[in-house]
């Protein structure tokens, strides 16, 4: 057995049997060895960035490690965006890269890049494997690291000659999943005491609580706590439940942002108080005692001072809160919240918001919705109603255009039993549109909706609001491809809608098509996403309409 074979065997022993990759000189031995492992499914993408986002989509949908593979140099550097995205959103992926033979490392050899050096700040950890005999245990450790504690990306760089070197050891069994830390009793009891006295409490959950949904629901119901889910936390709490207030932050709901500003106790679980969530930090939840539960000690009081820090596992903490519950009536508070909840934006009949609403209304509770980045992403986040966790895949921390489509491919392969739908903008879709070939190659039934507003919409919105309508370099309408023909060129079924009547039947044709298909919704471009908290402003300064935003200038 050589190093390459040992690598595949290790992945298989870890129950990893789907990988996303792209071959090249420095990984030819890996691809050669692949032929001996029929149980391994390799998905050939069309750009390594696609492989990394597909691995993320896999991981976000399942909670299991996603794996991507690239060759040395340019192949490896094409993974950088996906690795950074995974780091920012705590997604467990393992990237395997080839490198030039050991003797050539450091000589500026053909297709050599110091990928361990390059990815140091964007991975949890990375390895350069020096000997084939180390390879399986390093890979096993990488997999364990990726999913333990706060999950994240790990890179394993394997020189070509290490892949070819004889492996003489034993393939290690998978590491047992390490027990996640329980919160300290004293800390959580202090938190309970504070919460008991609350008049205007809220619970805010982020992506770190993704696997604590059951406990969070019990916690909230037992205490009668209103719940806010961040962009990354959508689905952790069922949005049809009356306690749910929506998403906070820049494009959050009126109810969520008003609740934060007025709360006297805020329990935050598995979130990191990103600036898109907090707005101006010094005004964020300024009246509240903040209880922050997080597995990563470095997140506690990083941005927002935690009056009661609780370090530990989200599910364990929520379970403890649920088991020691005091039902808080607080009628006045709930009435007030209801009043705010009734304030939401109504979208004009033919607009991106309207089209997205029609699309998300067709989703079942099991469907997985991915988005790209931009206005359509925020609209989808505002309009979709998730009842379960891991049904919503979006690039939150990095805001990566090009993420949505390959992520949907990853999720579709992870669970063929569910429908994978992606909503993308006309700008972002083109960043990874070449993965249409991947859909065709494997007949992956991803449903793509391109919301075509002929603009880099979100940038246009900022230019409109903050730069006096100087629309510098955001017009795509003169050069967008014909998306129907583009899909057709890759052999993919596609339909177009240019008004509300067409949309209804187009959605049916699109969703009912057996196999991959694309829907293009051609929408007017003048609409912005509201409500909005202007960058740098506090949540109290939220504006609810375009006119209001202009007035505040």
């Amino acid at each position: 057995m050589n190093g390459a074979q040992a690598l595949w065997q290790t992945l298989i022993n870890h129950n990893i049997t789907t990988v996303f990759g792209y071959p090249g000189g420095a990984v030819i031995p890996l691809y050669d060895a692949l032929t001996g492992f029929p149980e391994m499914r390799h998905i050939l993408v069309r750009h390594e960035q696609g492989a990394s986002h597909a691995a993320e989509g896999w991981a976000k949908a399942t909670g299991e490690v996603g794996v991507c593979i690239a060759t040395s140099g340019p192949g490896a550097t094409n993974l950088v965006t996906g690795l950074t995205d995974a780091m920012m959103d705590s997604v467990p992926i393992v990237a395997i890269t080839g490198n030039v033979p050991r003797a050539l490392i450091g000589t500026d050899a053909f297709q050599e890049a110091d990928i361990t050096g390059i990815t140091m700040p964007i991975t949890k950890h990375n390895y350069l494997v020096r000997h084939a005999n180390d390879l399986p245990r390093i890979l096993a450790e990488a997999i364990r690291l990726a999913r333990s504690g706060r999950p994240g990306p790990v890179l394993v760089d394997v020189p070509k000659d290490v892949q070819l070197e004889l492996f003489s050891g034993e393939i290690p069994a998978p590491h047992a999943r390490p027990e996640s830390p329980s919160p300290a009793r004293e800390a959580i009891e202090r938190a309970i005491e504070a919460l008991k006295k609350a008049q205007r409490p809220i619970l805010m959950v982020g992506g770190g609580a993704m696997d604590a949904s059951k406990e969070i629901i019990e916690f909230a119901k037992a205490w009668n706590l209103p719940v806010i889910t961040t962009l990354m936390g959508l689905g952790i709490y069922p949005s049809k439940d009356p306690l749910w207030l929506g998403m906070p932050g820049m494009h959050g709901s009126v109810a969520a942002n008003r609740a934060i500003t007025n709360a006297d106790v805020l329990v935050g679980i598995g979130l990191r108080f990103d600036d898109r969530v907090t707005g101006k930090v010094s005004r964020f939840a300024k009246n509240a005692t903040i209880i922050h539960v997080d597995i990563d000690a470095a997140e506690i009081s990083k941005l927002v001072h935690a009056h009661i820090p609780v370090r530990g596992d989200a599910a364990k903490a929520a379970r403890y809160f649920a088991d020691h519950a005091t039902y808080l009536e607080n009628k006045e508070w709930h009435d007030k919240l209801q009043e705010w909840k009734d304030r939401y934006v109504r979208h004009p009949v033919w607009s991106a918001g309207y089209a997205i609403k029609q699309i998300v209304d067709q989703l079942s509770d099991d469907d997985i919705l991915s988005t790209d980045v931009g206005q359509h992403q925020m609209l989808a986040a505002q309009l979709a109603r998730f009842q379960k966790p891991r049904r919503w895949l979006t690039s939150g921390g990095l805001g990566t255009m090009g993420f949505g489509f390959p992520a949907a491919i990853g999720s579709a392969l992870a669970d063929p039993g569910v429908r994978s739908i992606v909503i993308a903008g006309d700008g972002g879709f083109q960043m990874t549109a070449q993965e249409l070939a991947t859909l065709t190659k494997y007949r992956i039934p991803v449903k793509i909706a391109v919301i075509n507003n002929s603009f880099l919409g979100m940038v246009r919105q900022w230019q409109e609001l903050f730069h006096e309508n100087r629309y510098s370099e955001v017009w795509l309408g003169d050069s967008n491809p014909d998306f129907i023909k583009l899909a057709d060129a890759y052999g993919i079924h596609a339909v177009r809608a240019t008004n509300s009547e067409e949309l209804e039947s187009a959605i049916q044709a699109w969703l009912n098509h057996d196999g991959p298909s694309l829907l293009e919704a051609v929408v007017p471009n003048e609409h912005g996403v509201f409500p909005m908290v202007p960058a740098g402003a506090s949540l109290e300064e939220m504006v609810e309409t375009h006119e209001e935003a202009k007035q505040k200038q």
Binding site: T116, P121, K124, R130, E141, S282, L303
Partner: protein, 198 residues
């Protein structure tokens, strides 16, 4: 760095903090540590690294500039790095810190004696004698070294080289967790990473 990296206003005054970082002695570990500081905009005022009595374990003394928040963040971010075995915040206990400096001072026939006298007061050792210059070696805490340099400045300092501070906690306890001294059973030093460049 600016003290308000994480907030609108600095929460506590900026000052220097001294921490020790016990790390696995692996290639690139220094880069990992320093790149964390660089990426987050934390300021390393001084950094000394050396091996320890325990093979495979290195020890760094880092002086971090910034307010208490920045120190806290630096420590927590360090603790997250896989290569970091332990971080010691020396505010927590009494410690001894020392720095070594080489100072080259201009001398003339008129100043030679006075320079030597001052050096004696500081217990500085003469390590090189030239016609126009003397080189001194001084060990001590930061205050002593700064004072020595200030005393010598009027005579004409040609150049200096400071090592940066090194620190150890007082008392009989060891900063490095005992299990890393023994060969068996240490999670931190599993052979997993033995031959790996990380």
């Amino acid at each position: 760095m600016s003290a308000n990296l994480y907030g609108d206003t600095p929460s506590s005054p900026t000052k220097d903090h001294i921490i020790s970082v016990i790390v696995r002695d692996e290639p690139r570990v220094l880069t990992r540590i320093t790149s964390m500081f660089a990426r987050r905009g934390f300021n390393i005022k001084s950094l000394s690294v050396g091996t320890t009595e325990n093979p495979g374990v290195s020890r760094m003394t880092i002086v971090v500039g910034g307010d208490d928040n920045i120190l806290q963040q630096a420590i927590r971010q360090l603790e997250k790095l896989i290569d970091v075995i332990k971080v010691i915040d020396h505010r927590e206990e009494k410690f001894v810190d020392r720095e070594l400096v080489l100072v080259k001072v201009t001398i003339t026939p008129e100043t030679r004696v006075e320079v030597r006298h001052i050096a004696e007061d500081f217990r500085a050792r003469i390590v090189d004698v030239g016609r126009y210059a003397l080189m001194f070696e001084v060990t001590g805490d930061e205050g002593k070294i700064t004072a020595f340099i200030e005393q010598m400045r009027p005579f004409g300092i040609i150049e200096t080289m400071r090592t940066g501070r090194v620190a150890l906690s007082r008392g009989s306890n060891a900063d490095i967790p005992t299990q890393v001294y023994t060969d068996g059973g240490s999670k931190s030093l599993e052979p997993v990473l033995g031959d790996v460049e990380i």
